[in-house]
Symmetry: C2
Subunit: 290 residues, 2 copies
């Protein structure tokens, strides 16, 4: 199987590496070609200097880029992947995008006789490097089954959530739950700090009970240290939660907590903290609390 | 060791049972004596018809009742436990109370030559029945060590959080984190429902990642079914979060999310839902979302 992988960021670089190591014939494309050459020197595999060169003749084209417009630029633009993909090929988009874009891609794929699956991932950079991502999929069951050799190369689990767009909507729910957990954890930690509780001891005590969360287990201690220079950047989270609010509007509901979190992240980003991990929200909660 | 256990509610009843089964000599007291007799018929052990009868001569007196005033009534009132406890005995309070009450109990104990530890628990009714509670302790290390035979009878872990009152403050942080996780989960589920995602599939997909929480794993599916007639009652949570807000005020901070959650629970309680599980908050979030 000939696979093209477009986008060698912190996620795509190791993901494409896992594919190549799994024995597939991988060709990569990256906006800056040096990075693609670095990838090839590390893993073997081929480099496409243009998207078209990368995607031409592929059985499966995979994209993992930044935002909706980045996807359009590499997939549906005049010189994008779809312009060269053969009928019967498959497009998989791992980018976290709007549900609207997923449907846009589906339409473009259908016009070209190409199959499509939206498949945003969670698990972050570490998950990509260790090949243990969770992949949230939208599209046909037969397609989902067919893609298992690819998904298992870098995923610990892939789940078919429904038709095209449902992978993106599942990812939205993921991000909303993170926002809520972090907000509660922030208020809890602020009270704990003021009360003089030892945070690592507290986390050990609470993490396996009803208050427990991935965020508590993995972020409480670094939050207490006000250490945020790692992890999932709030500028990406602002984008993702923006999709959530758009989707909520489409569905006719409001999400007050999520809306507030977006405002908090935007304010933090304006203060120059856009690359900090989402747990930096404790800074906004602290400002409001004092 | 002679142990007195005061308060045979959904928590105390099985906790005292575990103590008796562990080989300790247990005498119980309950406001309605029939329940104490039921306990004795189930586990063996002795019944005190009054608090004084129960607590007299005990090496350790344990209370697990409803609220601050309930504790005062059985412990520090004129005919409370302290009035009959011998010097050198130990008082352990498993009730979730204010930190102020913990200090009130400490003073009363010191005046009577009795040692004191505040030790609220988490893990709920199931945790009490299965003997796997988490016990958050405030007081002396030597006392904490001495109490291990008792705590291990019904706890899977006990953690010394600091001086008297710190057990209660750790429990407060626990409740705040639950409130935050549930609020985010509610917004996430509402969007998921509107978008037509299958909730059990979604939970399976998300629960082990960065969005994962005890609440997601144990409550998302019942929340989606709008099933709340079990678990931890919001009337208790209103009490507990009230302590959090009081403590925050004492510490000079505000907790906006926690405050909002208290208002939401109070409104639900006024609608007659006071006995429902804390996950019923999705009803309040849904009302606001629509």
């Amino acid at each position: 199987m000939k696979v093209s992988f477009i986008g060698l960021g912190v996620m795509g670089f190791p993901m494409a590496g896992h594919l190549q190591k799994s024995g597939l014939d991988v060709t990569v494309y990256n906006r800056t070609t040096e990075k693609a050459r670095l990838w090839a020197s590390q893993y073997g595999g081929n480099v496409g200097v243009t998207v078209a060169e990368c995607a031409k003749g592929a059985d499966v084209v995979i994209s993992c880029v930044g935002n909706d417009d980045d996807v359009r630029s590499v997939i549906t633009s005049n010189d994008g992947a779809i312009s060269v993909m053969k009928p019967g090929a498959i497009l998989v988009d791992h980018t976290t995008t709007s549900a609207k874009l997923a449907n846009e891609l589906l339409e473009a794929c259908q016009a070209a006789g190409v199959a499509f699956m939206d498949a945003p991932v969670s698990g972050g950079q570490a998950g990509a490097e260790n090949g243990v991502l969770t992949i949230m999929c939208g599209g046909d069951k037969a397609l989902f089954d067919m893609l298992q050799p690819i998904f298992t190369a870098y995923g610990k689990s892939s789940v078919l959530m429904g038709e095209v767009g449902q992978g993106q909507r599942a990812k939205m729910v993921n991000q909303i739950c993170i926002a809520g957990a972090l907000n509660g954890l922030s208020e809890g930690l602020l009270l704990a700090e003021k009360a003089g509780l030892d945070i690592p001891t507290l986390v050990d005590c609470l993490k396996n009970g009803a208050a427990g969360s991935w965020q508590m287990e993995n972020r409480a201690t670094t939050m207490a240290q006000r250490s945020f220079d790692f992890g999932f950047a709030i500028d990406w989270m602002i984008k993702d939660l923006g999709f959530c609010l758009d989707e909520a509007q489409t569905q006719g509901i409001t999400l007050p907590l999520t809306s507030k979190v977006v405002d908090q992240y935007k304010e933090l980003s304006e203060q120059g903290l856009g690359r900090m991990d989402t747990s930096v929200i404790i800074e906004a909660v602290e400002k409001e609390a004092n």
